[in-house]
């Protein structure tokens, strides 16, 4: 039974080692913030941080994540105080909101790697994430705002 470090807590996951993290989070640990959009790595809705890198949890078997620090949307802050969460609320980024946990986690990885991204940095980093509602204009503005620019 693999033990994973999720949002700073050590969690035993009663699941086979090949189970992708997404299903372990959602179905075994009842952490439903990370979303299923495609299951094949092409939409980004399931993005989480693994050692501060954005990872598509629908593709990552839990066996490969033992000993790493996993952060999900539930662990980004306890009170919506992360600059991205604040900007997302204030600039009214979400429409249906279903893709936004993934967008925010991927943007969090971007800001860790490039604290003051340009439009081009944002394009290069975020273009794998689908928002079916088309909130991209606001995602861009919110990343800039969260980066303090």
């Amino acid at each position: 039974m693999p033990t994973l470090m999720i949002n700073g807590q050590s969690r035993e996951v009663n699941a086979p080692p090949e189970m992708p993290l997404l299903w372990a989070l959602r179905d075994i640990l009842n952490m439903t913030g990370s979303k299923y959009g495609c299951g094949v790595g092409v939409c980004g809705a399931c993005s989480v941080l693994v050692d501060n890198q954005a990872v598509r949890s629908c593709l990552a078997p839990i066996s490969t994540l033992v000993g790493k620090n996993i952060t999900t949307i539930e662990g980004l802050s306890t009170d919506n105080s992360h600059p991205l969460q604040k900007a997302w609320i204030e600039l009214d980024v979400p429409q249906c909101g279903y893709c936004q946990a993934g967008q925010i986690m991927n943007a969090a990885a971007l800001l860790i790697s490039i604290p003051k991204p340009t439009d081009e940095d944002i394009d290069n980093w975020m273009h794998d994430d689908v928002c079916r509602c088309g909130t991209y204009q606001r995602i861009r503005a919110a990343i800039h705002q969260a980066a303090g620019g």
Partner: protein
Amino acid sequence: MNSLTTLDMPKPTRRSFIIGISAVGVGMVLNSTLAGGSLLRTLQEESAQSFEPTVWVKIDPDGTVTITVAKSEMGQGIRTSLAMIVAEEMDADWSKVKVKQARPNAGNGSLGTGGSGSVSGSYNNLRRAGATVRSMMISAAAKKWSIAEANCTTKKSVVTEKNGTRQATYAELIDVAATISVPTNATLKNVANFTLIGTRQPHIDNPDIVSGKAIYGLDVRIPGMKYAVVAMPPAFGASVRTFDASDALKIPGVIKAERVPGISGVVVVADNTFAALQGREALKIEWNMGNNVSIDSSVISSRMKTSVGTVSDVPATSAIKIEAAYELPYLAHATMEPMNCVADVRTDSAEIWCPSQSGDGVLNAAAQATGLAASKITVNTTLMGGGFGRRSNTDFASYAARISLTFKMPILFMFTRADDMKNDGYRPASYHSFKGGLSADGKVTGWIQKVSPSNMGENPTYQVPSPSLTGGSLSSPVPTGAWRSVQHSSTVFVNECFMDELAIAAKADPYQFRRNLLPAGRLRDVLDQAASRAEWTKPLPPGWGRGIACTDSYAYCAHVIEVSVSDIGILKIERVVAVIDCGVAINPMGVEAQVEGACVDALSTALKSAITIEKGAVKQSTFIDFEWLRINEMPKIEVYIIPSTSSPRGVGEAGYPSVSPALCNAIYDATKKRIRSLPVQQSQLIAVDEPATELQGNVNVYPSPFSTTFRIDGKIEQPKGNELTFTIQNLLGSRMMEFTASMTPDGTFSQEIDFSHASSGVFFLSIRNGRSVIVRKVVKE
């Protein structure tokens, strides 16, 4: 009984003030202190029987205001805008407002959310509800202070004595208010005095969304719940002949792998989604393929053409006659959250949790699937990860109810992304044949359209003499349904493009040509506004074009789009101007979001995505082959809302129809190429006036598709200098990469390109030498 009467009455916590208001203005108050939790007091006792509230408002002693709304949220911001209407008239403190989702009771349709009708259809009721509460709070304060009601004012859930010092919060007044008769015709505010409506308010659910707490259908977890998927038939009309589930049942966690009555596939139920999917993978199924395997898109296309047949002529007196045919593909909804539903069917009752645009429909579907009376079924509507019309259907609720009924356990049924894309109710494909006539001085003399299928046609909104619209029927196995803006997604495209063709044939300015065919009014005003905001007459750089289109679908909307098209046919959207007149804009921030989102839909479907049929089935399966715009392809969209005090109209769909015709009219302006089918192909865009000089030689690109790097080599003829420029652009013309490399004097070159940072999809690689260029398509997996 009716839709909101009993089930949706907010649970009476002690001392809460609860009021329901019906469409005809009858109010009902419930106050647990006075009534021991059961008193229903109405203005006229006899009306209690037929009381049909459309909204409940609850005020708790801590000041929280809970508004129960009948419409469901799919991203259109309806929970926010409906609550704003009530809170405005109520003068509630917006920061203390919470929204609760109504449950359907008798399935009478009142929870149906679609046709962009939620705000326009409930505006008056919701205003009256808010005004009634405010009036009762004023009466309560006046009674408490023994002063005239006219001496009381309200603001942010507080009643204040005019020229006095006394103040009371609504929460402090609820006991007194509960003893007051419900007024039948509380005075509504003057629209000019609105303080909340018209302000920019973020979605009320944003805090839950950005923290991962928001509950969509797939997030529902109930005790003992199992996870179900279905091995769906591989073609429309296919069915299971035999199957062998022995391997599936060996997968740890798989509980059932069986047929279920009423479901035409094999159902797999497991302890978790992963096991269910693995179990499905391990099934061995032999299918009866049914009668549709010979059907593909080209068959449907020729059936549509045959059913349209010949089109009658425009009046013989017409000096100029033109004709054109347009064809549009099927489209999937591809909501970000695939279809799903949780059902817990027990012996004599059931509870359903469903992300639905039609709570009533879900109730009916569950009743039908289970044989239970509707009164024994509770339906909870969750947030929806997108809707766009797909969730007005209830197929997924029936699946869930049947599976739970059969296996006697609570289950979450879900479509995978591919299931969802291949089992949709699609925007219909359509074929439109037009004839148009003009007099010698450029006046329209005739407008004739024949369309297949017949429900996909519409006469133009313009004043043209006796327009004619006839349709042919189409036999197709592909199920269809409502898709954002329904038939307008197609009708406005073809009408606005053909209108442009007439304008060009009349040698007229496309904007002025349209304007002359519109009576003074709100549609002409949005057209004028769009032209002026976009600086219609300002000259454009060479290779650029500008197009315009407008529509009266749900609201008045017009778009002007500027594009540039390079000499090798690479299209770039330079500017999008959108103007909307939706009457009173309840929440301008939400209106802008809808217009931006609809524009992304329209550009995605104009440029990238279509559903095609192969062997009686949908070919596409995920966001790779049914592509949506990505952030790097997103043009800046300018949205202008016309200030208005008229009754609100719908905005969820209004922003879609005029985008693609404005785009294709702009492409015509830039290239003189008329786009008559979507999505636009790059090959359609090579400018007529400036044919590209093709680079001669031998160029190889491999492998294709590639995953991270690919190689390009070859030898070009008559090289100029020793430099080659490589450019990679995406489908929308954004430059992803550009660099130069050298070649030998005889033109030989070899280059490895690392393109690992890019998303998967189709890209154009152009190789230039001097003024010659060659373009190759590359596909990244």
